[in-house]
């Protein structure tokens, strides 16, 4: 596997060689900022096309085909269109909160994106409580949605925001518990160490039954956490116009759209890192030749392929299942998912304590 820290070290030494340290750090921070910004935008554009194409194929349509070869330039046209739309300022909104909401939502998703390692040494924020930090930042995003719904001075957005708040905080529990059973298995919260611990065998195989249950719980909770699929009550268009972002126009609306797709990538990325080995290639203990061949595929490709696969599954949910009601949604979480996740955590702990893992 290629170690990206070679490149970054070279860049660092180059800068240190020709300027004082504070200036080098400043320039590096700016470079990181620009890189994150580019990644964020490119990923969002990719995901918009990905979802549009997939949903079209699920419905036996072609999807966007006109702009560019195979509709590939459609997303750029969309982005430009949304930029040139007028930003309408409404009467009766709470102006400050109304404008603050997109900042909170986008910032939380950018910080989460910066926490994911894409390859060996290709990570920005690397706390030793990494995964816990990601979960903590993800709950800040709920605030943005609640503010957006509240400040719009609109009853539908208020209902949408309340639903979203209840849904996201509820499913955060089973999400956290599912991830915790993997932390029990690995014994660390640092995302990089988690990936390294999957060197021999991915966690979903290492933890066998409890890990597979945790994975299923995680994917369901992640679908709810991103307000997608059968759990898209906050923006149920048949009931609530467009949910919590009804009153936003132009690029203001675009921010919510962007953050939704990025959150989809982030939850898929975490699933890939925690369960499917992240950027670690598929290794089977004992099969040295096979492992060597797998090592030829770069880490980024492994990470992105796994993340896109899980996103595919989540998008598949959306176009397959009908939307649930709010009471069904909350009952499903509190009466089934949460007790199951807790029991699964205990099962995993027992397996680890008595050495029943691979």
């Amino acid at each position: 596997m290629f170690d990206f820290s070679i490149i970054t070290n070279w860049f660092n030494n180059l800068l240190i060689g020709c300027m004082p340290e504070w200036a080098a750090v400043l320039i590096e921070c700016v470079v990181i900022g620009v890189l994150v910004l580019l990644t964020y935008t490119v990923l969002a554009l990719f995901y918009i096309l990905y979802e549009r194409k997939l949903c079209a194929w699920f419905q036996c349509r072609l999807g966007p085909m006109r702009v560019g070869p195979w509709g590939l330039l459609q997303v750029f046209a969309d982005m430009f269109k949304i930029l040139i739309k007028e930003l309408i300022s409404l009467k009766g909104t709470d102006k400050f909160l109304f404008k603050l909401a997109p900042y909170i939502i986008i910032t939380s998703s950018v910080v989460m994106l910066a926490c994911l390692p894409w390859g060996r040494g290709l990570q920005i924020i690397d706390y030793n409580i990494g995964i816990f930090f990601v979960l903590a930042v993800s709950s800040v995003g709920v605030l943005g949605i609640l503010l957006a719904g509240w400040s719009s001075n609109n009853k539908y957005t208020l209902i949408g925001a309340m639903r979203s708040g209840a849904q996201m905080i509820s499913y955060e529990l089973s999400l956290g518990l599912a991830l915790m059973s993997i932390i029990v298995l690995a014994g660390t919260m640092n995302i990089n160490d988690l990936v390294w611990a999957q060197d021999k065998c991915w966690f979903i195989f290492q933890g066998h039954i409890p890990a597979i249950i945790a994975f299923i719980i995680y994917v369901i909770a992640a679908t709810a956490e991103t307000n997608r699929g059968p759990f898209d009550l906050p923006e149920a268009e048949h009931e609530l116009t467009a949910g919590y972002h009804t009153e936003y126009s132009g690029i203001h609306f675009g921010f919510f759209y962007l953050a939704e797709y990025l959150n989809l990538f982030i939850v898929s990325g975490i699933a890939s890192l925690m369960f499917l080995g992240g950027w670690m290639p598929l290794h089977i203990p004992g099969w040295d030749g096979f492992n060597a061949v797998m090592n030829w595929i770069p880490g980024i490709v492994w990470f992105l392929a796994k993340a896109f696969f899980i996103s595919y599954v989540i998008i598949w949910f959306k176009w397959t299942f009908p939307r649930v009601r709010i009471d069904q949604l909350l009952a499903f979480e509190w009466k089934y998912m949460m007790p199951f996740a807790l029991a699964n955590l205990v099962l995993m702990a027992v397996c680890v304590a008595f050495g029943l893992t691979f």
Binding site: S5, V36, L83, A114, L177, T188, L342, V350
Partner: protein
Amino acid sequence: MNLLLEISNGDLAVTATLTGIGLVFAALLIARLISPKSYSVKKGETYECGIPTRGESMIQFKSGYYIFAILFLIFDVETVFLYPWATIMRSLGPSGLLCVAIFMFILILGLAYAWRKGALKWQ
């Protein structure tokens, strides 16, 4: 193993936060520069569902959500307590597992109580 080894995580987190703020700010600036502007009284009205909105919208709202928020608080603090245990689970071994099992039992009792009281029923 950071992307650039010399920078502390705190600085990087600040950088990421500023990037997020910068993204929103820059996009809004571009949109303000190139988007058309026009004014009319009707345009400033709340859209809601297309017909004129009635009454106040920022109101006290259904308490059903509030009960779930309180329940969430209890169980979220529980998960926060469980994280450190999860990290050192291996070195604690079966005795640590027993202690946490008692802790979890009390919490599950709490969930069962809430369930029995009908707090989990949507009304």
